[in-house]
């Protein structure tokens, strides 16, 4: 089982402390860029009520969901604080400016 790596664009396409979406079939994946130019990828669904995390405010390695202010770790996809839940986290890495997304093995 090998990881399938896909180039999805340049880090410069995402504003710092912002996010963009990548559509993969039915799934929407949110790619986040932090203030210090790290990138993270999560399924674009808050574990609470499926809010689009890509539309939230990015801060300190977390994103706050725009619907009900749950705070989700960008690294692990887990809800912070008293809330419980987890969003799927997707492997992502940078090759220079290029964002490379690790999608699960092809079916």
């Amino acid at each position: 089982m090998t990881q399938a790596w896909v180039r999805v664009g340049s880090i410069n396409d995402i504003p710092r402390r912002g996010a963009r979406c990548v559509k993969s079939g039915e799934m929407s994946i949110a790619i986040f860029r932090t203030a210090d130019d790290r990138v993270f990828a999560l399924e674009d669904k808050c574990p609470h009520k499926n809010g689009p995390l890509s539309q939230g405010i990015v801060h300190d390695g977390c994103v706050t969901c725009p619907l009900h202010n749950w705070v989700i770790s960008l690294e692990t996809g887990t809800a912070q604080g008293a809330d419980e839940g987890q969003t799927m986290s997707i492997p992502v890495r940078l090759d220079g400016d290029e964002i490379i997304l690790g999608l699960g093995p092809a079916k």
Binding site: R17, T34, L103, A106
Partner: protein, 817 residues
């Protein structure tokens, strides 16, 4: 009823202000009071001028008695009236403008004038003293040039002026005649530490320097020292001391030495004339610190109300330097003399220096630098002449080290005796504060200030007072004033707003750096708040931070539960037309918008729009002449109206027209929380103006302005702000009110909560009574609108931030490597 006596007061500074407070408390009906004040303003806290100069406070913050106070107490206040003659035979005084007032009792409180060294050039423009608000204003004006300033005098005032001017961006040099700074309060070692601190802040210090002349032809160009050194400067501030203003009293034939001679009852050589403040000489001494002046005020007030028991007794007073970040405390006598010993603690790395001067095992003098928490405790031992031989070993380490293990600061305060002085300025002891808290049921700092005056002057004892509140009330004490904005900072909203202004912070990173944010880039609570504060405070300079806006404000539409958006175009005052409705209908069809609804604010909401369609939806709405209704914004949303005189049988004014005018004037403005207005054409109130943030009810005689209503989490009827006659006045008052809220509101704090916090009377006073203040608010709003009335939809259609709306990539599995 006995006839009221006439009391005339010459001067309106801190001492007579305090005297009148005492008098109105003990004998409210004894006198008709008339005040003549050479300064054209109300009573303010002169010792807080330094924070005004450095920008940490505004003049409004340091007013002690606003105009309303004089009205409430029936005081006739002549602002800008200098008294030029006292006729003791006729018992009258006469002002420069010819106003004559008769008195039964007269109080002279003419204060002091700054001393000016009569060197050549001292009259050149650009040479200032540091005494009143005019001096501060002149310095602020000079500081705008960011030029060079020389401050002559390294005493308390001179150093505060120097720090303030440096904070305002000037290149500052302090010239001091003596070998070390503040030599009257500090020993040379502490003076040296202070000098090092100032130098590290970029202030140049030259000691043992005597000014030979001030250079310049038409205005100041620099100064020359006796040793020939020339220092270029565009501003020279002389802060070398003060002289009692006693000329008026002298001309009236009263006994005058250095100051106006008074008994320890504050009576001059004429028993019907009293004198208080810096103009006074009592037992051969004149005073410049506030504590003895307040004591004079108390004695004079007691005497005027018939209580002759009180006498002025000299006490020593502690000195503190009001420069942010410099902790310095000095009290008593620390000169070297026969039989005196001293205990010194130096911690060079921590910048701490403490020195106690002792004689016969009693404390005579205290100098603390860097760490001043024990000042009150040492002072208490000094005043009571407590024998310290038992604790001599550990004395210098302070109260925490007396007996057993070190105490935490709370325990240290708890251990203070009831008569320990907490507030030096106002002479308030611990017992008075704790008694006031329990007997009057006080719960907060402001209340303690109001009832006891503790921490109401220079404010350096605020921490101690808060500890007393916490001790006395236990868990019931909720220090609301210091609730931090969020977990990223220990500062509350008000402090952050104040410091943004004071330190001229103009970006979010600058705020986080300067105010020592604990996180690297804030959180979803503080970033939108900071973004708002910066937009509000620097409308022309601050670049809105897109990533610190909530999604609704970022994409100018309202996110719904399924991640789609709703869009509300503006319909001014709720009016629309067939053309507009047709355009909306076309958009609904074209983008297959599933739901269309009328909002509670009389606008049309289109719901269920996909994010990627938003720019095209706006483009079409824009073509039809619509701008964004900002129905999602912490900003002006709607102005709801009824049909008014145009159609209604009962309408008294053109409520629709006025609503449209207000909305067109105010749209686009950001506010701490959402802002909804309404205008009703008659008291039947069809537009429901009495539960809005700001409402106007048209009545036969004009317009009744309402505010602070709510129909959200709380349901609350409005309060009346006041009545005005014309539409133009409505505009000015409503806009000024909105701006006052914009400037003072905490982010997400609705107008009714803000109003409760500030006080309805205070708001009415500022908007309805203080015309200059209202105009100031109005003008700042108008200025800000120059940058705010940009339609975000047309901005987005033109391509701004277009990345927001399209996916970055759409993958098919074949694309995988």
């Amino acid at each position: 009823m006995t006839e009221k006596q006439k009391l005339v007061v010459i001067g309106n500074g801190m001492a007579p202000g305090r005297m009148l407070e005492h008098l109105f408390e003990t004998a409210p009906d004894a006198y008709d009071v008339t005040i003549f004040n050479a300064e054209p303003r109300v009573n303010y806290d002169r010792i807080m001028l330094s924070p005004v100069l450095s920008g940490e406070k505004s003049f409004e913050d340091i007013i002690i008695h606003g105009d309303g106070w004089y009205v409430d107490h029936g005081v006739m206040l002549y602002k800008g009236h200098k008294v030029v003659e006292i006729d003791r035979e006729a018992k009258t005084v006469r002002s420069e403008h010819g106003e004559v007032a008769a008195y039964d009792k007269l109080v002279i409180a003419t204060g002091s004038a700054p001393f000016i060294i009569p060197v050549p050039g001292h009259k050149l423009p650009g040479v200032l003293t540091y005494r009143d608000l005019d001096d501060v204003d002149a310095m602020l004006l000079a500081a705008q040039s960011r030029g060079k300033a020389v401050v002559i005098g390294g005493g308390l005032l001179g150093l505060e002026a120097a720090a303030g001017l440096k904070e305002r961006g000037m290149d500052v040099t302090v010239i001091h005649l003596m070998p070390s700074l503040m030599e009257r309060q500090l020993d040379p070692a502490a003076g040296y530490l202070l000098e090092q601190e100032l130098v590290s802040r970029g202030i140049k210090v030259i000691t043992k320097a005597s000014t030979k002349q001030i250079l310049g032809e038409a205005r100041v160009e620099g100064i020359e020292l006796e040793d020939g050194t020339i220092i270029p400067a565009t501003l020279v501030v002389m802060a070398v001391g003060i002289r009692p203003s006693a000329a008026l009293a002298k001309e009236a034939g009263l006994s005058v030495n250095r100051g106006i001679v008074v008994s320890d009852h504050m009576q001059t050589s004429d028993p019907d004339i009293y004198s208080v403040g810096e103009c006074v000489e009592v037992n051969g001494n004149v005073y410049g610190l506030v504590a003895p002046l307040y004591q004079m005020a108390e004695v004079a007030a007691a005497h005027l109300s018939g209580d002759t028991g009180k006498r002025f007794v000299e006490t020593s007073t502690a000195t503190k330097l009001k420069v942010t970040g410099i902790n310095l405390y000095s009290v008593g006598d620390f000169a070297e003399a026969e039989g005196r010993e001293e205990i010194v603690l130096r911690d060079a790395a921590a910048g701490v220096y403490k020195r106690l001067v002792l004689k016969d095992n009693k404390i005579l003098g205290v100098v603390l630098y860097g760490e001043t928490a024990d000042g009150a405790w040492f002072f208490d031992h000094l005043k009571k002449q407590i024998d310290i031989s038992e604790m001599r070993e550990s004395l210098i380490f302070g109260q925490a080290y007396q007996g057993g293990s070190p105490m935490d600061p709370m325990a240290a305060v708890a251990a203070l005796p009831d008569d320990a002085e907490i507030c030096g300025c106002n002479g308030v002891c611990k017992g008075k504060i704790t008694t006031a808290i329990t007997s009057k049921g006080l719960t907060g700092l402001d209340e303690v200030r109001a009832h006891t005056k503790a921490s109401a002057s220079c404010g350096t004892c605020t921490g101690l007072v808060e500890q007393l509140l916490a001790l006395t009330l236990g868990d019931a004490y909720n220090p609301a004033a210091v609730t931090p904005m969020c977990g990223c900072t220990g500062l509350g909203h008000d402090d952050v707003r104040r410091l943004i202004k004071a330190k001229e912070l103009k970006t979010i990173p600058a705020v986080m750096q300067e105010l020592e944010w604990k996180t690297s880039c804030g959180c979803a609570k503080c970033r939108p708040a900071l973004n708002y504060y910066l937009v509000c405070d620097w409308p022309d300079e601050y670049a809105d931070d897109y990533q610190s806006r909530f999604i609704n404000e970022r994409v100018h539409a309202n996110i719904q539960k399924d991640g789609t958006y709703s869009v509300v175009p503006r319909m001014w005052g709720g009016m629309t037309s067939s053309t507009e409705l047709r355009a909306i209908a076309d958009v609904v069809d074209k983008f297959d918008i599933p739901a269309v609804k009328c909002t509670g604010g009389q606008r049309i909401d289109m719901l269920g729009i996909k994010k990627e369609d938003l720019p095209a939806v706006w483009a079409d709405l824009g073509k039809a002449g619509f701008v964004s209704g900002q129905a999602y914004a912490k900003g002006l949303r709607t102005v709801k109206t009824c049909v008014g005189t145009d159609w209604c049988r009962f309408g008294t004014q053109d409520s629709t027209g006025l609503g449209i005018k207000l909305e067109k004037f105010m749209w686009g403005s950001w506010t701490p929380a959402k802002l909804k207005l309404a205008v009703s054409g008659c008291p039947r109130n069809c537009a429901e103006a009495t539960c809005k943030d700001i409402g106007v009810i048209c009545v036969d005689s004009g317009y009744e302005i309402h505010f602070a209503g709510a129909a959200g989490l709380d349901i609350k009827g409005t309060e009346i702000l006041g009545n005005v006659k014309t539409e133009d006045e409505v505009m000015e008052h409503v806009v000024a009110l909105a701006q006052m809220y914009r400037e003072q509101g905490r982010y997400l704090e609705r107008i009714y909560k803000w109003a409760k916090r500030i006080g309805l009377d205070e708001i009415r006073d500022q908007i309805m009574q203080q015309h200059d203040k209202r105009k100031g608010y109005y003008e700042r709003f108008v200025f800000s609108q120059k940058f705010a009335q940009v339609d975000p939809w047309s901005e987005r259609v033109s391509g701004k931030d277009k990345h927001e709306f399209n996916p970055m990539a759409t993958l098919s599995l074949e694309a995988a490597e």
